[in-house]
């Protein structure tokens, strides 16, 4: 079956190229792959399009696949010589060099313990290679990346929800921000770290974020209003 933008797709469906101009270049994103001159769908989901010519399949997924440039939240699981092994939720663990922290030198090692959570940038992500993370930008500044060690709570959500939260049109964080003061680190790997002023607020926020997965903006606003009313009574 040929599918167009916005339709629900299944693996094996064929991407309809007929409306495109014959020599126009398109970018084939996740969920689409080329087979014998045709573009086939390899994931169940919805076909999306973005200007100028990017197509991808938007689907519900929990397993993260490392992608260059993504900001992820990882858990340090091991120290091996000069590198830390970090679980980022993908099939293999990623590596993080001790030198890729702000201000770290051979003599001045960063203070990272096993079980710590790090907010990091994916530097290398190849098909057959271990992913590599860094906690600095190209100028050597941390820019908010690094070890998160100030309380708060970490929880796992679907990748779809994370993309939704990071969408500038999503009102969830703005609405919650009207009542709660909070700090958050949202990783593209589905891990979200939140810290609000009290533990109750942190739990409330975590629940609010997880509940918003299948809501639209209006519903999110109503939910947040109710929640804030309840939470303010608790404190």
């Amino acid at each position: 079956m040929k599918v167009c933008v916005g339709q629900v797709t299944l693996p094996g469906d064929e991407f309809d190229m007929s409306p495109l101009e014959s020599n126009k270049k398109i970018v084939v994103g996740p969920g689409l792959a080329e087979f014998e001159g045709m573009i086939k769908i390899i994931k169940p989901g919805i076909l999306r399009y973005r200007e100028p010519a990017t197509y991808w399949i938007d689907s519900h997924q929990k397993r993260y696949v490392a992608n260059k440039g993504d900001l992820v939240v990882g858990i340090v699981t091991q120290k091996v010589g000069d590198i830390f092994r970090v679980d980022i939720g993908s099939s293999e663990q990623a590596s993080l060099s001790y030198l890729s922290f702000e201000g770290a030198t051979k003599r001045n090692r960063p203070d990272v313990k096993i079980g710590d959570i790090v907010y990091a940038n994916v530097l290398v992500a190849n098909k057959d290679m271990e992913a590599e993370l860094v906690c600095i930008d190209s100028d050597g500044h941390s820019n908010g990346l690094g070890v998160i060690r100030s309380g708060g709570f970490l929880f796992q959500s679907s990748l779809h929800l994370v993309r939704k939260l990071l969408n500038p049109n999503c009102v969830l964080q703005k609405t919650l921000g009207k009542t709660f003061e909070f700090e958050t680190a949202i990783g593209m790997n589905g891990r979200i770290w939140v810290r609000a002023q009290s533990d109750i607020q942190t739990i409330t926020m975590a629940n609010a974020i997880l509940a918003s997965e299948h809501m639209n903006n209006v519903q999110i606003e109503t939910m947040c209003k109710k929640l804030c009313k309840v939470a303010s009574k608790m404190d």
Partner: protein
């Protein structure tokens, strides 16, 4: 595949919350998650959901030789399968330490409690007897597999019917299902396992731990009990010391939990029986709602503020999930505190709102009775654990 590690941040936060008598999913310390019991079309097939934990139990039977040491008894065999589907850290084929402990406890719960009359399974003494096999499949692991598996196993055994047998002289005849009505197994009592987890040297205790709470816990106590308040199994694991009072307190809590759950199983069995008699739809097909694309939808997530919520003008629930009909009907129920209401046959809801009396043993029976109400949806039984536990104490008196 390796398990997702638990970060220090999660560990500290969970322990801190427990110390403040709070749980991440909004339950109070002695609350169970929602229990749903459903039976398959075939007899002896039971699917139990405890929150998001899912277990499927299937009972089957065959004729074989009885054990030489017990020539007059049938054989009960319990098998627990933990597939990687339930949790990536489970390995296919090989049983982990956790798996061994689980199957051993299940065996102790079902076999050594002598809940089933094995003598009635004998056909010809020393030669032929029924072998009953219970296969327990863990479908999803979100904590507390043990309680869920014990509910599934005993419900499946109670649901199962074996073919009728007649013995005439030397001739043994096994009647087919059409020929003669199959006979149920004779079950004397329903032993159920209740797990208690302990934190900070046994100072704090939780019932029905979630997966993360299980990772943080210091020790665990499992009590197997039936509704006649007889303890069938008791096991303590982990490195901690328990006081006598704590064990007693746990067993008192187990009494109430077991009463409620047994009631729930009976109700589910009765519903299934009625549906079969009337020729209505039954089996798992009824369990799956036809929501199609929205089947990934999150269920109502309650913030741990059940008490404050009832005071708020919005009728007593966080109503996070505004679009589902089910949650709306749930909201209505929550406001009508402890009112017995029967909307239609099908779902029973127990423990909806109101002060909890878990520890108070004197009001066991009316507690279980009064907190019942029925909801629309065939063959689903739900135990709602969201009672606002006013009198509930989380801290055990360590002194």
């Amino acid at each position: 595949m390796r398990e997702t590690p638990l970060s220090n941040c999660e560990r500290e936060f969970i322990l801190k919350c427990i110390a403040q008598h709070k749980r991440l999913d909004g339950r109070s310390a002695y609350d169970y998650r929602d229990i749903r019991i459903a039976f398959g079309v075939s007899l002896g097939c039971c699917h139990v959901e405890l929150g998001k934990t899912r277990v499927l139990a299937q009972v089957s039977c065959e004729v074989g030789q009885p054990k030489q040491t017990r020539p007059h008894d049938g054989v009960l065999f319990v098998n627990v399968e933990m597939s990687p589907m339930a949790c990536p850290s489970f390995e296919a084929g090989r049983q982990s330490e956790e798996g061994v402990e689980l199957s051993r406890l299940m065996e102790r719960c079902l076999k050594e409690s002598r809940c089933m009359d094995l003598e009635s399974l004998c056909i010809v003494a020393g030669e032929k007897a029924w072998h009953i096999r219970v296969d327990i499949h863990v479908l999803n692991h979100e904590g507390n597999i043990l309680d869920c598996a014990s509910i599934a196993a005993i419900s499946a055994l109670a649901h199962f019917r074996r073919p009728d047998v007649t013995v005439q002289g030397e001739e043994i005849r096994i009647h087919s299902m059409e020929d003669r009505t199959p006979v149920p197994l004779s079950i004397h009592h329903f032993p159920l396992l209740v797990s208690f987890t302990f934190f900070s040297q046994g100072k704090h205790m939780l019932v029905d731990p979630s997966e993360k709470e299980e990772k943080v816990m210091e020790g665990k106590m499992v009590i197997g009990m039936n509704k006649h308040r007889e303890i069938c199994t008791l096991q303590v694991t982990g490195q901690m010391l328990l006081l006598k009072e704590q064990v007693l307190r746990c067993s008192n809590i187990a009494v109430t939990k077991v009463t409620v759950i047994t009631e729930l199983i009976f109700q589910a069995l009765e519903n299934d029986k009625q549906a079969r008699l009337k020729g209505e739809k039954h089996g798992f097909a009824e369990l799956v709602s036809g929501e199609k694309i929205t089947s990934n939808k999150q269920p109502v997530t309650d913030v741990p503020v059940s008490q404050a919520m009832e005071e708020s003008e919005e009728d007593g629930s966080s109503s996070m999930d505004s679009d589902s009909e089910e949650s709306e009907s749930f909201t209505q129920h929550a406001s009508e505190e402890r009112k017995v209401e029967i909307l239609a046959k099908g779902v029973g809801m127990i423990g909806d709102g109101g002060p909890s009396k878990w520890i108070d043993l004197t009001c066991d029976d009316d507690h279980a009775e009064s907190k019942k109400s029925t909801k629309f949806k065939p063959e689903l039984i739900e135990l709602d654990g969201e009672s606002s536990e006013e009198e509930c104490q989380v801290v055990l008196d360590a002194s």
